[in-house]
Each structure stands twice: as C-alpha cells, then as structure tokens.
C-alpha cells in the first residue's frame, strides 16, 4: 500500500507484465462458474468465427482490482468501476496502469481518485476508476 504523502495527482504506477494463457481463463471459469465455451473451448470458439477463446471480462476486472487494492489498501477502497473495452486474447502480455487523480481533503477525510486500466501495449482491455478514503 502506498503511503499518504506519495499519493500525488498525476503519479502513474505500472504493474509487472503478465502473459495471459488459456489456462488462466479455465481457472477463472472454475472460480466464477462461467464455463461459456467461448472462454474455455478453443474448438467451439473457432466454430463461432472467433480466432481463439477470449478471457472473461470479470477476469480482467479482477486482475485490475488486485492492483488497485494493493495500491490504495483494500480497507480504504470505496468504489471500483470498470468498462469492458475489448476482448482479451491468450498469449497477450498485459499490465495494469494506475494513475492518481484528484486528492481532496474535507473534515478529516482524504478522498483519492484513481484511474485504472488493464492494457496490452497502448490498447486498453478494461478501463475504470476507483475511489479510496482515509481518515486523517
């Protein structure tokens, strides 16, 4: 977790790269109950015209949430919102990018906004925002 005085607007935190695999999607199917063949069965996915299986949106959102919670501290997280921008494909190398937004203090509470994205190169797979709160 980041210390208070390190949360300055505009500061960017880039997470380590992670290569997505078909096994990752199978594992997320197992912890979500979403065994849609488009996520876990290459033969079925290709039969629908897809080049390959693709990741669950909430798997990408979960990876990104882990990075957000590590940065702001899970106990301080008040809001987390994500938009699904495009499909995540196996073998893509992804990373998280978190940018500190507005930092506001009011009546002993500091509120920090964070913009976040799970990216591959310049392209965003999921894009979102979070809000964390701290007591002075």
């Amino acid at each position: 977790m980041l210390a208070f005085d390190e949360m300055t607007t505009g500061r960017i935190f880039v997470g380590p790269p992670r290569q997505l695999t078909r096994v990752d999607f199978v594992r997320y199917a197992g912890v979500s109950g979403d065994y849609n063949p488009l996520h876990v069965d290459e033969v079925s996915a290709q039969a629908t015209g897809q080049p390959s299986v693709f990741g669950h949106g909430m798997y990408s959102a979960g990876l990104l949430a882990s990075a957000v919670a590590d940065l702001v501290g899970l106990a301080h997280l008040r809001r987390y919102t994500v938009r699904f921008t495009r499909l995540a494909r196996p073998d893509e190398e992804v990373f998280t990018e978190l940018t500190i937004g507005d930092v506001r203090e009011s009546e002993g509470t500091v509120t920090v906004a964070v913009d976040c994205a799970l990216k591959s190169g310049d392209s965003e797979i999921v894009k979102g925002s979070a809000v964390a709160e701290y007591s002075r």
């Binding site: 990752d24 909430m58 949430a65 899970l74 106990a75 997280l77 987390y80 919102t81 994500v82």
Partner: protein, 161 residues
C-alpha cells in the same frame, strides 16, 4: 424488452462467504495480499476476519448460495442469464458493458448475507452506423445479518443488434 421494467426484482439470494472459495478466487485474480488466505494476516491488517477481494461479490452466488439457505421466493427473473435472454429476445448478441462496486465496509469470511437485485435502468440508442444498442442495468444490494448494507453492485449489459 417487453417483459422487463425498471423496478422489477430478480430472485433474492442468501449467500455464505467461505474461506476456501475466497482464497482460491484471490489466487486466480492475482490478489496476492495474504489477508485473503490467513486470518492472522487479516487481523494484523485490522480486519475482524478474512476479507474478500474487490470483485468476489460478482461470483459469490456460485459458491455460497446453498439451496437450504434460500428464502421463500417472490418470483422475478432468476439471474443475469435470464436478464440477458430477455434483453435479446428479438435477437442480437449480449455483452457485459460495465460493472461497478460501492463498498460500505469489508465483506468477510464467515458472514451470511442477503442479496436483493432489481432492474435499475433500461435504455436504447441507435449509433450513427445504424446499429441498435439496448442497455440493461441490474443493481444489487448486499446486506448483513442485521440488514445493514455492506456493498452495492451494478451490472450493465448491452444487446447489439
């Protein structure tokens, strides 16, 4: 969308939060913080019990909505799958557009929570290229044993025709 209206309830669920699924989910989504798998670590970090990762509420029914717990049913669409089917009854592909969470306090292993869900928004628009997009948002409220809200969550799905 004829059969869905704003305010329509989905089937209510009672869900238990258990250590095994929480630790496994955390591992899969890269939540490496030890608080998700160790009560000792959780207590040292100031939690009363093991907290769930931020997006666990999206999957918690799958693990914890045990049949014996379920309240008497009042009807309504059973879940997101049925909402997606209703949204695409005239054809089209349904995709998950947006998900948002608002947390009042940490959701903890050992709790049994009540989840109420309603259709909170329905809209439609046509893009400049003529593509029709129908949107539905389901809002969930998760309450603890004293009926106090722990968190709310919204799922928006889009039907592309």
């Amino acid at each position: 969308m004829s059969q869905m209206r704003v305010g329509d309830p989905l089937t209510a669920r009672r869900v238990t939060i258990e250590q095994g699924p929480v630790a496994l989910f955390a591992e899969v989504v890269g939540a490496s913080d030890p608080v998700h798998r160790s009560l000792k670590a959780a207590r040292e970090a100031g939690f009363d019990a093991v907290p769930v990762p931020p997006t666990y509420p999206f999957v918690m029914d799958y693990f914890g909505a045990h049949p014996d717990l379920q309240p008497a049913q009042t009807g309504g669409l059973a879940g997101l799958k049925e909402v997606a089917e209703a949204l695409s009854e005239d054809g089209g592909i349904v995709v998950h557009g947006e998900e948002s969470f608002e947390y009042r306090r940490p959701l903890l292993v050992g709790e049994t929570v009540d989840v109420e869900a309603v259709i909170s928004d329905l809209s439609e628009r046509t893009r400049s290229n003529g593509q029709r997009m129908k949107f539905v948002t389901v809002e969930y409220v998760v309450r603890d044993a004293s009926a106090e809200p722990i968190l709310t969550r919204k799922t928006t799905m889009i039907c592309l025709t």
